[in-house]
């Protein structure tokens, strides 16, 4: 038959393409140019969630329960929103601890317990075998149906068919071979299969396209769009129940239970863990998957109901299995190409699932079931064998074959008991048992090995009792009375209505009891038991994975021979790979302590044989000194928590101290300012009162003595005028100083020529100098570079200094000198007098407000006592300095005083050479 040949040819060609993609992916990975380092590939490969159970089974389930097929896809959509929170942590933990499967994850979390790893493996295998059986069934029945083309004939199970005529067996063997070939090409410490992931992503595309093609064909070719199909389907019997909840579509609670269940399974199905955690290349790819994966699920489900209704309308009830509508609808309408595409799509859905699932399970079986047993079996002498890497690969390949055959046997034995969807749910409920131990292990440090062991065992038992045994009974392996009346006719032990819990559907019932007992035992035993030190160490590593990166080595203490350790790793990974890994490690991390190297070796081994076995193996070559609980607590808690806490405390108290100190200083400063202000005001009032006193006294004298002599009258009025002027000047200067200090002065900075300002100042004071008979000596360099300053303010400073000099210079032969020097970065102006000089003690105080070098002068100096403080403020504003130099004149024959100030040169003249040099014009 040409069509049969075409089907076979297409199938083989499809698998060939898959293999080519996988091969190419591996080659690229080896070359370091990964093709799966791409968020889209990652998200697509996650769609391995959609198996033939989705591809064919959704329509089957929709035919019975209408919208009831949807929760299985809504759950993962909801969980996708939590990927960043949950899955990312799972990935981080797995990367940090070289975890390669769920069994490994749980075993490692609870103190690298081999027992726990074995239990998880067992649950996973038992739980997932029916699921694999389902895929085999789907492939073989779709093949058989297509084979009959153009007839539409359901393959009948009643027809006695020996295993050798059964296509499912050949499918199983073919898939086993295929999986072995590109699932176990080599042993890798990270247990990643880049080629496989690429192939799975491709398969996801194929099955989506195939399903969309059928959907579009049915909806828009056979019918006139969605509305048309739903309109016509209205005549179908019971259609109402399919489109509302409460009936076969499920109650609200069963709907919620399904959503919850599928939320857990998207995390804990071994194949999902393999793809989304183990095969993850980059945590950030999760971001894309968060929306792309739900979008994929939406797309592959949108046509389910239209196809279902079209099938129900086309085929009279019971003649064609609704599970096959996807294939039979194109067939009956003679769409060979479309039917072939559907067949390939179904094949890809099934193969994708089978490949990933068996790889994941075989890793578990090898690392967490076979190796621990074999290593303990001293008679085998395994611990002494030189190269174990071939043995490991052998075990894995054997496990794959075994799994496939177990799946086949389950299919032969129980395949007809349930519709496709129900089998899938049995598996979902099995892996949901991992949830307490996994999630608890990730977020709850107290969760203990004993708790996990009890929880998992009891949950698994209840799952088997309430879901698996009824399935067996329905398949005829157990008497039906077992379900209907309960074992030994004890009704409260009825598997589907335990303790009389009735009115819940079978799945919800099983889920409730198994998870309740599981969680209860996990939490209860954990709370009332004690963790071993190793458990506690692992718990901290897992729960605090985001805080303590790259720790763990510090938890090991002992002695080890490096050559032995490397030889040991070499036995599992192959000597060359091991040598390369250690060389790489050494070059990356430098010479490290033996604890670090042992830790690295353990990680390498964990990737190959699982955490629990790796520990056992390493223990055979290194002498580990056991750490006590207290020590581990000491190391971990101290380093991670106590130290962090105390550091935080220390930091806080330091901050507090600093703040207190600053506050105290500020307070001190404020009080000082307050005192200064007080003094200032008191001084100001005093200084103001003095001229005021003269003014008032003379005014009153003039007033009371109208007949005063003209000369005396004139003298008194002159005094009044002079004192008024003094008062005004004082008020002005006080205001001026207040403005300067408050920073409220408007400065008009410009480039000014200092020589010119000095000329101005001398012109202004020439009158005074003549009166006092003072000589002036000017000493200017040939060219005075410009400075940036406020011209009027600078003039004020110069006037102040010059008048001071005039006032204080020698009475008889007063002489003052003004000199300008060009320093490297500034101009310096000196104003020199030949007066009696200033005591060293007074040299600072004269710059204070109202302090005139004063108390022991025979004559009260003239002036306000504000000139120097104001001048200093001005000079400092322009970045200069004002100071006095005086060789104290105690004896009265002083050498005078020199007031000097500097002003920084303008930017353009910074490089001006020292004093006396001619400068080039740089403008």
């Amino acid at each position: 038959m040409p069509l049969g040949g075409l089907i076979l040819l297409t199938s083989c060609a499809y698998l060939g393409v898959l293999f080519a993609i996988a091969y190419w992916g591996d080659k690229r990975a080896d070359a370091g140019r990964s093709i799966i380092a791409n968020p889209y590939i990652y998200a697509l490969s996650m769609a391995v969630y959609a198996t033939s159970w989705t591809f064919y089974g959704s329509v089957g389930r929709a035919a019975v329960s209408g919208v009831g097929f949807l929760p299985i896809y809504l759950g993962p959509t909801l969980m996708a929103a939590l990927f960043w929170l949950v899955l990312r942590k799972m990935i981080r933990i797995s990367k940090a601890n070289r975890i390669t499967s769920i069994a490994d994850f749980i075993a490692a979390r609870y103190g690298k317990s081999a027992l726990l790893g074995g239990l998880v493996t067992l649950i996973a295998v038992v739980g997932v075998i029916p699921y694999i059986a389902l895929q085999l069934k789907a492939v073989s029945s779709s093949f058989l149906i297509f084979w009959q083309y153009p007839a539409i004939q359901m393959p009948s199970q009643s027809e006695a068919m020996g295993p050798l005529q059964d296509t499912a067996l050949y499918v199983a063997l073919l898939l086993a071979l295929f999986t072995i070939v590109f699932g176990t090409r080599h042993l890798d410490a990270t247990e990643r299969h880049e080629g496989m992931v690429a192939a799975i992503a491709f398969e996801s595309l194929v099955k989506l396209l195939a399903f969309l093609a059928v959907g579009i064909f049915v909806t828009f070719v056979l019918y006139d769009g969605f509305a048309d199909i739903f309109d016509r389907a209205a005549q179908l019997p019971d259609i109402g129940q399919l489109l509302t909840l409460g009936g076969p579509a499920g109650t609200y609670s069963s709907w919620a239970a399904l959503i919850f269940l599928s939320m857990l399974s998207i995390l804990f199905l071994p194949r999902q863990f393999q793809i989304s955690v183990v095969e993850n290349v980059n945590e950030n790819h999760l971001a894309k998957a968060i929306w792309l994966f739900p979008l994929y699920l939406l797309a592959i489900n949108i046509f389910v109901l239209p196809i279902t209704f079209a099938g129900l309308m086309h085929f009279s009830a019971g003649t064609v299995d609704a599970d096959t509508f996807v294939l039979t609808l194109p067939m009956v309408h003679r769409q060979e190409a479309l039917a072939l595409l559907v067949f390939v799509g179904g094949l890809s859905a099934a193969t994708g699932m089978v490949i990933v699932e068996t790889i994941a399970l075989s890793t578990m079986i090898c690392n967490d079931l076979a190796m621990p047993l074999l290593l303990r079996w001293k008679a085998l002498g395994l611990a002494q064998r030189r190269d174990l890497s071939r043995l490991l690969l052998g075990i894995r390949r054997g496990a794959i074959l075994l799994l496939m055959l177990l799946g086949y046997m389950y299919y032969r034995a129980a395949g007809e008991a349930y519709a496709l969807v129900s089998i899938g749910l049995v598996s979902f409920a099995a892996v949901a048992q991992f949830a307490p131990a996994m999630l608890g292990g990730m977020y709850w440090k107290q969760g203990s090995r004993a708790g996990a062991l009890w929880g998992l065992s009891l949950g698994f038992l209840l799952w088997a009792y309430t879901l698996l045994l009824p399935a067996f009974a329905k398949s005829g392996w157990l008497p039906l009375s077992f379900i209907e009346q309960g074992p030994f006719a004890i009704t409260w032990l009825k598997p589907t209505a335990l303790f009389g819990l009735d009115g819940v559907d079978e799945l919800g019932h099983s889920l409730f009891w198994s998870l309740l007992v599981n969680l209860g035992a996990y939490v209860g035993v954990s709370l009332f038991g004690r963790q071993s030190s190793r458990e506690h160490a692992q718990a901290l590593l897992f729960v605090d994975v985001f805080k303590s990166a790259g720790r763990g080595a510090s938890l090991w203490r002992g002695s080890a021979s490096m050559t032995e350790v490397i030889a040991l790793v070499g036995r599992f990974l192959g000597p060359d790979r091991a040598a390369a890994a250690f060389a790489n490690y050494a070059s990356r991390r430098g010479q490290r302590s033996s604890a670090d190297l042992v830790h690295f070796a353990e990680q390498q081994l964990a990737g190959a044989i699982g955490a629990a076995s790796a520990r056992v193996m390493l223990a055979s070559v290194v002498q580990e000194e056991p750490l006590g609980m207290e020590e581990v607590l000491g190391i971990l808690d101290e380093t991670s928590q106590v130290i962090a806490y105390s550091r935080r405390l220390e930091q806080q108290s330091q901050e507090l101290e600093t703040a207190t100190r600053e506050l105290r200083a500020a307070n001190e400063r404020l009080r000082e300012l307050d005192r200064l202000k007080d003094d200032f005001i008191s001084t100001v009032t005093h200084e103001l009162r003095t001229p005021l006193t003269s003014i008032r006294a003379f005014s009153e004298i003039l007033n009371d003595n109208p007949d005063l002599e003209q000369a005396q009258r004139a003298q008194f009025i002159a005094i009044i005028v002079k004192e008024s002027e003094r008062l005004t000047r004082m008020i002005n200067q006080v205001l001026d100083l207040a403005k300067l200090e408050a920073g409220r002065v408007e400065w008009h900075a410009s480039e000014i020529d200092l020589a010119e300002v000095i000329d101005d100042a001398l012109a202004t004071t020439s009158q005074l100098m003549q009166e006092r008979g003072v000589d002036i000596q000017l000493d200017l360099p040939p060219r005075v570079p410009p400075v940036i300053a406020d011209r009027d303010r600078l003039l004020q400073v110069l006037l102040n200094l010059i008048t001071n000099a005039i006032k204080f210079c020698d009475r008889e032969s007063g002489r003052i000198g003004i000199a300008v020097q060009v320093l490297p970065e500034a101009l310096q102006v000196d104003v020199r007098d030949n007066g009696r000089g200033i005591d060293a003690a007074d040299q600072d105080t004269i710059f204070e407000k109202f302090r005139q070098a004063g108390d022991n002068l025979t004559e009260k100096p003239q002036g306000t006592g504000l000139g120097l403080p104001i001048s200093r403020q001005i000079v400092e504003h322009f970045g200069g300095r004002l100071w006095v130099h005086s060789e104290s004149g105690r004896s009265g024959t002083g050498k005078g005083a020199t007031f000097s100030f500097t002003l920084p040169l303008g930017q353009s003249d910074v490089a001006v050479p020292g004093p006396g040099h001619e400068t080039e014009d740089k403008t």
């Binding site: 005093h686 003095t690 008032r696 006294a697 009153e700 004298i701 003595n705 008194f716 108390d855 025979t858």
Partner: protein
């Protein structure tokens, strides 16, 4: 015989005004420009009343007042503190040191003369 008043102040213009006022009122006037000078004048002249500025150069008014009160010979000498510092502390300090009155600048010439007259009147 007219009473003698010592004016001890460093502000020349104030001295001029006080000198004029007191001479006009018929007192004999002696002038000192700082604390030291004031003490010398007191020893020399034994004035009946001292108009003492607080902020005197070399020796402050407070010191001068203290010296006057330390010397029993000068027990009857009247001391009137004159100051531009009007704070409570200064007033009480001056009085505590034995000043007979404390007059803040600027003062009313009438009141000052009245005050002087009161303190010298008893004699």
């Amino acid at each position: 015989m007219s009473k003698t008043v010592l004016i001890a102040d460093d502000e020349p213009n104030i001295v001029i005004s006080l000198e004029f006022l007191l001479k006009q009122a018929g007192y004999r006037v002696v002038v000192a420009h700082d604390g030291q000078e004031a003490l010398e004048a007191i020893r020399r002249e034994s004035p009946d009343l001292v108009l003492l500025d607080v902020m005197l150069p070399r020796l402050s008014g407070f010191d001068v007042c203290q010296k006057i009160r330390e010397n029993p010979d000068w027990r009857d000498m009247r001391v009137l503190m004159l100051t531009a510092k009007g704070r409570e502390v200064e007033v009480s300090k001056g009085l505590a040191l034995g000043a007979d009155a404390y007059i803040t600048k600027p003062f009313s010439t009438q009141e000052l003369l009245a005050e002087i007259a009161t303190h010298l009147g008893g004699k």
